[in-house]
Symmetry: C2
Subunit: 447 residues, 2 copies
């Protein structure tokens, strides 16, 4: 047999990792529910035609394809010269989802007659990408998406920002910033640069300002034949502070209809979000790639760690359009669960004792003590106290080692003395001290 293992780029989640990820997810779930978002799940597999062509050529190559079942070659037509991509069309009908966005669009269009719009949904499921694995990038990872579909109202953006603020406050993440911009405003800016036809080149370049110096970005712009004047204009707006930005932009965009709409959308959102715990920052160079965004764009970064954005989102007017449902605008966001996990781990922000699953373990001495332990364990569990009875009558040391390695804080011993006096001796595994209690006292002690 080969060495045991799992496919590369994938992970087992051990209990210690699970409990931490569940902590993050349960906070998100609690808060999105407060805002009236409802959960959905879609199947791991979608039809090939649902996924193909939605992620660009590079994306298409990274989709994991499911081989047809049974005698998949029976109806195929191939020879020794058949190419992989030709054969794959004949022997593959399904593939694993690549993100949660395309499945959402498919779901909304397919169920448009049953759905009440605006449709507020969240979805937390794994996605699969055949990317080259590297640090922090896996071939299977959870996405956590929150979207509202079927309203043009900017209140949807306002609500999502309030929601994001509440999630990160609840996770106690310090020093985070929500950067916000607007795709229409970006169009206005590019008009002002006098380079309307080079929108994509400019956006692609300035999107790198987080990872590259302005000098490097300027070089890249030059290579794309952007004028020196435009480059110097870009330079002038990269360092605006929150207060300057609006004033400067109002001047810059005074001749661009699109730009003015984008700016007024930003202003509306700033005006309505109210007091937030996080820092909200208008960043007119924020682009977030050449995605399907058409209006508001936002992201959250953690200032204390250089780890990239931990959340991204924006408004898309045409997403459902890819499946034929026109004029349904939506806005949504995606939490970067893996990065949030890394930050909480790095900064020690997971709750204390999160890895202690069991609160109390009864040592197994066999005989009558065992029957009492079983009885008490039931009572303690009914009180919500996680309790184990060690299953084997082994040496005490071995049983205590088990309790230690599971970080069980209290160990209970019932010997002949305890049976006579109807008490339980408790060993505090942190201090090493022992004391005797009645069952009732024990419940109070642990609670």
């Amino acid at each position: 047999m080969n060495k045991l293992g799992i496919p590369k780029g994938m992970n087992d989640f051990s209990p210690n990792k699970m409990v931490k990820r569940d902590y993050i997810i349960s906070i998100i779930k609690g808060i999105v529910a407060e805002f009236g978002y409802m959960p959905i799940e879609t199947p791991a597999m979608e039809k090939m035609e649902t996924l193909t062509g939605k992620y660009g050529d590079e994306g298409d190559r990274l989709i994991f394809k499911i081989l047809n079942s049974g005698d998949f070659l029976a109806k195929s037509n191939f020879s020794a010269r058949t190419k992989s991509n030709e054969l794959s069309k004949q022997i593959v009908k399904k593939a694993l989802r690549f993100d949660l966005t395309v499945p959402l669009a498919r779901y909304v269009v397919q169920n448009q007659n049953e759905i009440t719009f605006p449709f507020k949904r969240y979805q937390i499921q794994p996605v699969w990408r055949a990317e080259r694995p590297q640090k922090g990038r896996f071939r299977e990872f959870y996405q956590c998406d929150v979207d509202v579909i079927g309203t043009n109202s900017l209140l949807a953006e306002v609500e999502l920002i309030q929601l994001v603020d509440k999630v990160f406050s609840s996770l106690k993440l310090p020093k985070i910033t929500l950067n916000i911009n607007n795709r229409k405003l970006l169009e206005g800016v590019v008009e002002w640069l006098g380079e309307k036809n080079k929108f994509n080149d400019i956006i692609t370049a300035i999107d790198k300002l987080d990872k590259m110096s302005i000098e490097k970005v300027s070089e890249e712009l030059k290579l794309k034949n952007i004028s020196d004047e435009a480059i110097s204009k870009i330079n002038s707006i990269t360092n605006l502070t929150n207060n300057d930005t609006l004033t400067t932009l109002r001047d810059i965009l005074k001749d661009s209809e699109q730009g003015k709409i984008g700016l007024s959308e930003i202003e509306y959102i700033f005006n309505k979000v109210g007091k937030l715990n996080l820092n909200i920052c208008f960043k007119p160079t924020l682009a977030r790639g050449l995605d399907y965004y058409t209006g508001t764009i936002f992201e959250v970064v953690c200032n204390s760690l250089r780890i990239g954005s931990i959340l991204g989102g924006g408004r898309y007017d045409n997403l459902a359009g890819i499946f034929g449902l026109k004029n349904v605008s939506g806005v949504g966001l995606s939490f970067g669960l893996d990065r949030i996990f890394l930050i909480l781990e790095e900064l020690g922000l997971f709750p204390e004792n999160i890895e202690s699953f069991t609160k109390l373990m009864f040592v197994n001495f066999g005989k009558e003590g065992l029957d009492k332990a079983l009885k008490y364990a039931s009572v303690l569990r009914d009180e919500g106290i996680s309790t184990e009875v060690y299953p084997d009558n082994l040496k005490l040391k071995k049983q205590l080692n088990y309790a230690n390695s599971k970080s069980i804080p209290f160990v209970a011993l019932i010997g002949s003395d305890e049976i006579t006096s109807d008490t339980i001796t408790i060993k505090d595994m942190n201090s090493g001290k022992q004391n005797s209690y009645t069952l009732e006292e024990l419940i109070n002690l642990i609670k």
Copy 2:
């Protein structure tokens, strides 16, 4: 474009289904945690060699295979006469998990040096099987497994039965029975029948007693050349009641060492489980297929609905052995989530209002009322009350329709009167009545 849809045998989970499934899962999670079980997750994909040969030939055919990425034919050697199964070995290295049991065995063997035994884990994840879809049988479905690995102690069985009892009590499932038997006892019974060499034929036949009459089963046994004497003996033990069973079996098994061990294991468990809410029934004909079980076998059936078992489980001495780790016994069970869902639905046992996600919706009249609504909504959410502000300033009727179709029980209106008096008018969507409240009164009303 083809008709929009998902691959056959798979399902979207709409919010109404999600909230019900989450209800079941959250009860199970809460209770397994009380017993000290810890969550793990394994990747959707396993290496082919991990899965192949573990589920029989039929099972192997039902595994969903992942086509290798990129130019998968580049290193393959094929002609127009290559058969599907030959080619598949060249172009497939990974497949989707078929159950959670084999991944658990793989996980335990792979991580044996990090795991503290006995290892108590639960795992709730989807599995995929390319079966012919039919009512209640899907190609993607969740399994929910609870296992303890690395102890021979029957206390593990005792604990699992108590856990099962608590889960089904919490779900308020009426009239359920836990049937229990033991594989060693079955071996003893087959010895007594004088048909030791036909163990598999006999087990396969009597396993059908739930779905077939004893006459049909007897016919099948006859076809397999089981003696008339053995068949009449089988008939004699199918209708024992709980009290008779032990006495009769003690007599039947007095000459079988294996049988006596099996019987004493059953007696130990009956003796230790204590008072249960569910009915526990010793059923000496229970076999649960030709699975990997080696000791205790059990299942739960719901007496009020003929839907098959809603839980199955048992002890397996050799599971980790398939990956080379010997002498590690375990016992586990699997909740039949889909069937439990169907029963709760059928019997109306889901909590009332489970489909009401949002408790209160503010109507959007625009202007100042809106700013107040946004402010109040934040306060209400901080009180744990799920609150929405309707995003668009549409006709009241349209907004109320939204609240209705989302089963939102309270709708809040803030017009000029309410702004002046600093109150909120609440429409009770069930009674249709309207009343005015201060924010504080409103919080108390809804809580």
